[in-house]
Assembly symmetry: C2
Homo-oligomer: 616 residues x 2
Amino acid sequence: MSKCKDYLNKMNLPGDLKKLTLNQCDKLCQDVRKMLIDTVSKNGGHLASNLGTVELSLAIHRVFSSPEDKIIWDVGHQAYTHKILTGRADQFHTLRQENGISGFCRPDESIHDAFISGHSSNSVSAALGIATAMKIQQNPHFAVAVLGDGAFTGGMVYEGLNNAGKSDTNLIIILNHNEMSISKNVGSVAKYLSNMRTKEGYHKTKSMVERALDKTPVVGNPLKKALKGSKNALKNVVLHSTMFEDLGLAFIGPIDGHNIEELEKGLNAAKALHRPVLVHVNTIKGKGYAPAEENPGEYHGVGSFEIATGNPDVVLADSFSSVFGKELTELGEQHKNICAVTAAMKYGTGLQYFAKAYPQRFFDVGIAEEHAVTFCGGLASMGMIPVFAVYSSFLQRGYDQLLHDLSICNTHVVIGVDRAGVVGDDGETHQGIFDVPFLTSIPNTTIYSPSCYEELRMCLKKAVLEDSGIVAVRYPRGNDKSNYNKSQINTSYEYHDNGNGVLIVTYGRLYNNVLSACEILRNRHIECDTLKLVKIFPIEEDIIDIISSYKLVFFFEESYYHGSISEKYAAVCSNIAPVAIDYFVKHGKVADLLDELNLSPKKMANQIEEFLSYEQ
Amino acid sequence: MSKCKDYLNKMNLPGDLKKLTLNQCDKLCQDVRKMLIDTVSKNGGHLASNLGTVELSLAIHRVFSSPEDKIIWDVGHQAYTHKILTGRADQFHTLRQENGISGFCRPDESIHDAFISGHSSNSVSAALGIATAMKIQQNPHFAVAVLGDGAFTGGMVYEGLNNAGKSDTNLIIILNHNEMSISKNVGSVAKYLSNMRTKEGYHKTKSMVERALDKTPVVGNPLKKALKGSKNALKNVVLHSTMFEDLGLAFIGPIDGHNIEELEKGLNAAKALHRPVLVHVNTIKGKGYAPAEENPGEYHGVGSFEIATGNPDVVLADSFSSVFGKELTELGEQHKNICAVTAAMKYGTGLQYFAKAYPQRFFDVGIAEEHAVTFCGGLASMGMIPVFAVYSSFLQRGYDQLLHDLSICNTHVVIGVDRAGVVGDDGETHQGIFDVPFLTSIPNTTIYSPSCYEELRMCLKKAVLEDSGIVAVRYPRGNDKSNYNKSQINTSYEYHDNGNGVLIVTYGRLYNNVLSACEILRNRHIECDTLKLVKIFPIEEDIIDIISSYKLVFFFEESYYHGSISEKYAAVCSNIAPVAIDYFVKHGKVADLLDELNLSPKKMANQIEEFLSYEQ
């Protein structure tokens, strides 16, 4: 392993990669694969997608010249080899650790990360912007977008392609075709691309037909008759080819994505065209590590695991996601109008139970949050009760649809907002800290933020069976670590009034931190009352009355401050000290990040103590 | 005109439309066209798109049975005939007037408006949701989405199609092909569809080829050789047909959209398939009214006009949009890195001046706000200064892209937020009252809200040349009615401290109303100080100090309350009475709507007077 690092360290990267022989390339790919497996088995991360792009990454850096040529990795969870080959082999062992390198592309991490990545399907638009700037600036370099077929389930790609086709730019779009996004891809585009994948002779055939037509003025009689003898008409029909050519792009492929020589030929051909081109590359997700090749879905994003067996170090017990999924499955038994919708996150959101029990009422729509929201609106308009389970940071894509297609008509749709709050290792693009601000800006919206499994079950049931309008139930990644007395839990709030002058308000899993903070303060002879919100929005008169009765109120909140619940209560009660998040949160362990954000028990306690000491 | 109304009034609509002869249909279409021209010439509204869909609307209601079959009109600005034919002929003269019928589809207006409409490209998703519910409910009816080729520039359509193809539902998608969205359509999809439009023989040819192949085992030699003699391979290449068939839909068309008989044949054929199908209908925007046929772009959305000449009743002077466009054009002269981007609103946003002067730096990306934002991010990453001019309510579509693709890297992109605040006649889906809440929830964002042309010019210049990150300059629809003393204007704030105990804070065009309110109050012997914000976000210490020095502060704001600027200041200053918007605002005249919202001069004055009387 360290030999490979030494080897890379001696090179001027990525330029010197061009000097390697094909044999040396193969050797390097083997070593990089080992490095990937070694690091991800320790740190967790995305494995299968990165094992699939080792040769592709090397070929790209041999054919193109980063940073003058700009490589834009869609989502970015397949860019580990790119990181290793652009001078980050030394730091690669710090992957996804606080102050270590990110699991996604970050322009502030390296000049070779040309654009931010994390959310799917934006790379064509970003690359077209870059290629267009190059054209205006008379810069002869290339913008190269690399995206998986999973990204093609997102509509934004088509907006990009629609503008790319006629752009006359040095734009190269590489379709990394592995037939998976996280789980198996869905929809007719996936089917279409798969058909293309197997047409190995497509490109060759097409050239031959073209040549044949050029040489032969007379074509077979029945066809000629049918097509009214027009060579052009025939050409149109016979050579009508890929959807991408319909969209005005040149097309090259399919290419074996694990054959460096073939990859380089294809990419060089693409370069030579000097016009927007799509290169179709077939790769195998998990390539080179048997457990990942066999189960690419399971090895998409993983925690640490044992290399020899592929077994995870920690077997996950229940999580908020699985509790959500199981409770919804129970509700679905009795209520035949409940539907479950996911945007390519069946397992991540715990919907596999519902999918298995009621396949006719389960819908995986691909990475298509906009469609998911409006599709739910259509279902709801017919009396169904749709439940869309989605990660907080991805729900951002459906903002207009929530507002326009659901809220105006007060349509009843339940949103399971998974990964709400600080998510951790995946960093800025995945933290769920904006759902409270953007959901509260949408009329007719109710938000619950349960602090434990039991509350989650109660809130989900109420959201589905009793509430109206948009009802969001938000819960964090991972499992429930609460151990407080659950005898009083409900879907509204829980107030512990022990006659103290200071009140601490919070919601969600932070309640556990608040209880620990109270312990710490008790040892310092400071007693606080507590108020745990469960239904956090709309804000309630009851809560205003409670808050207003205190001299000092601390409100701890795992949300971006502007648009937060603490800001809303502060706007009507003047005695609040809100502690919320006011910057993008990088990757790291959740507990460490919460500490930095002044939301750990100790920091909570310290802030309260400090404030009180000034008061005296 | 009234004869037609009488005629329709006697019918049981829309069912009785099926009883008409084709001759009666033609007569009805003529009369409906007259009604459209008559009403729109008085009330303003969408003309050209509605003149294009008269026959299509009638054919749809003869072939399908609303409300059991659900008709979903994308955008909805082509659904006037649908409204007339579903029992709203009597009210049609109230189009777009307060308490009158909406210019878009509203489920609360009629059972025949199956889904909310206003924003583009959502109809396939909504219709698929409805068709899916029908399938689950074993309901044999149809969901029919009607969308223009303009909607196909929005990515959401492809998310819908990707899921529709394999859905096994009674979903019928009607492509109303008129080659226009508002101005001429852009991009390669438009080109592709136009090619299809002219292939009149396409469908016929295809069947003939199919028959020919079935009958003829031997095909022409050169082709046969090229294709290795395989009939299936040939079939694949020869019969590879439309993009829609690639996506798993059946395809029917193109059909003459002004021929009722042909339309009915096509729609009946689509019904008979009982699977997702796309019907391609060619229509002429503006059909039947010469000025609109000749200039469909100008007659897309119009104010009142003289029918004989087509001349508008009011010739528009400068507007905030045109002042924005002209100032940007001036800036573009000296600063060659400024680019202008629009999502199909070149004229609406005043960018025609820039487009003419610097065609290489102007980009109309189609109805594709997501792409527009990220494309700007790509441009900016290469040192360009992109300015995206977009209506407030449509910018909602780019929320995730603003947050993910721009904000995290503090990318400098200027957003011209046009139609900010209450827009008026177009109603709930078009009011620009959410941009402040959602933009303030995005880190690294600065927002200006100028109150007059001069301030707009200053703010735009500062946003483009001096500021960093996302900089939004928001301004209302229409023209500047201000007549206050402009000697002190700047891009920060203007404070008039006359030593009074009450302060009124506001921003944007409401400042005019505040000044009028002060006049009214002065006559009632109440004097107020005023503070006009220009840079409204981030909130500023200066402003907090000023506000905190008053006993009572009224903050008037043309924004949804949750996430508003007044809420933000209220959260840090306890003496604020915020007056903002807390519900969806229907259509009507702006002045009337502002009065309802307690934001007219008189209502402002009354609220302040009333509050002070209680204080005493």
